[in-house]
Symmetry: C2
Subunit: 349 residues, 2 copies
């Protein structure tokens, strides 16, 4: 059976004040479409697995938000981390749970706060990727075909241009950290580099074996807890032992070390919405290049702005060029778009 | 006895969204001092007349606002105009009422939405002016000594530099409309021109006689209604006949025509707060020349801005130069300070 793991524990500090530690961006209707990014993520996987096979791993503080936004999800499918330990322990927890119930499961792991514009192509890629990993001991990542020399993403280098599976899937040569602009330009030009979207596919026993090889301490810890999974004791035990896990990403711990890693180059209008700038790129602009989310905003002689305010909020914005105007929870931020990397600083008292 | 007439029927459209037809600027704490401009106006006259001699003329739609903001004022001292007919009919109404009760009254007429910084000097000037008009058939205006070549005010030209009363009060040569900049500069240079602050002093029989001379139709109309004043019928009769008055200002109808007009040149830190710019001039600025009213506003790399937002409203404003940022009733306006004369246009759908 297919299972979906959605990682929904991030805090999204770069989108303040829209995103706050109390309500990070995955729980917000960032695009102004009436659905939060988490809801859009679940919707994107419709038809790939049934709702009881969807697992949300999040922080204990977001349990209620997940319940409210996914009311059809069984409560027991919300896994609560007592603290943040990056992606490897997070994935190990849900992998160990799933393998106890369904040892032949095929898994897809996805962030909760990205967007995909072409859902049909996305589903095609994921279904084909599932077949590929079901057939063997394979770890598959989805690689986004780059459209610009982006320095804000990690890259996946394909081994060569010869596909190993149905002309679409390639072996991975290496994972590359976020590059500088010159390097990013050479990546774009070469055609061998893809953006790492943080979406992974594998069989449960494949990833279990990878944990045992590359993170044996984490594997041993979850082995020791396996007996309480799906019992009333589980949360108590997790709260006690989960914090002992190393703080390490799945990329760094496993992807960069394992040999059986593959990448599926894909183009389905993906964005991690990591910055206001990337949100600006994704949403439609008026004739003055303003991207406005909010139904009560009137732009006058303003250009190149991104506006994100709640439904019903009334604003008249005149004479602004290239600003971010964002409001949430009664806090308004106005700052220059070119200074958006300083938003975390602006948000501090 | 001294009486105070406060005209509080204006709609203040230039201060949108702080000022709206539902709550014009006289009913707002424009300066962020915890008191509205109307409350500050009443306070300014403390010691000049008792509360039962204060008369507020306003629109029927602002009756509740006046009650709330001046709870100590007798209800019968709030006079309700059924429609706007400019200052002459407004003043006639309250003059006819006062003369019925107190035919020897000395009156001072004041707008409700101006500010005065030096209240002690203001009281000295008003008390001395009251003595002057009590002594004869005189109409006295207060003239503000100009500090800049302002083109937004009307001017009062003194007849000559020889005072007619205690070295302070002068005869009036003429009232002058708002000048262009060149003319305003020549006014400032000559020293004979004063700003018209719309504050008038006179005995009740003096102004009654002026009405009979220059606005006989208005005088006749109020003569015909006098019998119902201070009865249960008053409002009904006013609602029926007040709209028949000509729409005309006291300046145009009487001041510019009467002969016994005097002016008291004064300096008590007056502003009509007619524009955001004049408010900006009046309130204290931070080291970046931002004038901020609101306790939750953080200015970063912003200069020359004026911010007026409700208590408790949180904002971070970065990289803004010379903007107006104003919020009231859930509506936010941001516009260039240099475009403030277009605010009425911005406020329209």
């Amino acid at each position: 059976m297919n299972h979906l793991i959605i990682m929904a524990g991030g805090v999204g500090s770069r989108f303040w004040p829209m995103s706050t530690p109390e309500r990070p961006k995955q729980f917000i209707d960032v695009l102004g479409v009436g659905k939060t990014l988490l809801q859009l993520t679940v919707e994107r996987f419709e038809g790939i697995c049934p709702i009881e096979n969807i697992w949300i791993v999040t922080s204990v503080r977001y349990q209620e938000l997940v319940r409210q936004q996914l009311p059809e999800l069984p409560d027991s499918n919300i896994l609560l981390e007592p603290c943040m330990r990056n992606t490897a322990p997070c994935i190990a927890y849900v992998v160990w749970k799933i393998k106890k119930r369904d040892p032949d499961a095929c898994l897809v792991v996805s962030p909760s706060d990205h967007i995909v514009l072409d859902i049909h192509e996305f589903r095609r890629v994921v279904m084909k990727g599932m077949q590929f990993v079901a057939d063997g001991e394979r770890i598959l990542t989805l690689g986004m075909m780059p459209t610009r020399p982006e320095t804000g993403y990690g890259y996946i280098q394909m081994k060569n241009n010869i596909s190993v599976y149905q002309r679409e899937i390639h072996e991975v040569e290496a994972f590359r950290e976020k590059p500088d602009l010159l390097t990013a330009r050479s990546y774009l030009k070469s055609g061998d580099y893809l953006w790492n979207a943080g979406i992974f596919l594998w069989k449960v026993d494949t990833i279990e074996r990878a944990f045992r090889t590359f993170l044996p301490d984490v594997a041993t810890l979850f082995d020791s807890m396996e007996g309480v999974f799906f019992t009333a004791e589980e949360q108590k035990v997790i709260n006690r032992y989960f914090p002992e896990c190393r703080n390490i990403s799945i990329d760094y711990a496993i992807m960069e070390n394992a040999r059986n890693i593959y990448v599926f180059p894909a183009s389905f209008g993906w964005s991690d919405l990591g910055t206001w700038g990337s949100l600006y790129e994704q949403i439609s602009k008026d004739t003055s290049q303003n991207a406005v989310i909010g139904d009560g905003v009137r732009m006058i002689e303003s250009t190149g702005c991104i506006v994100h305010v709640p439904v019903g909020r009334s604003m008249v914005l005149q004479g602004l060029e290239n600003y971010i105007i964002a409001e949430e929870n009664g806090v308004l931020l106005i700052c220059r778009k070119s200074d958006e990397q300083r938003i975390k600083e602006f948000s501090q008292q």
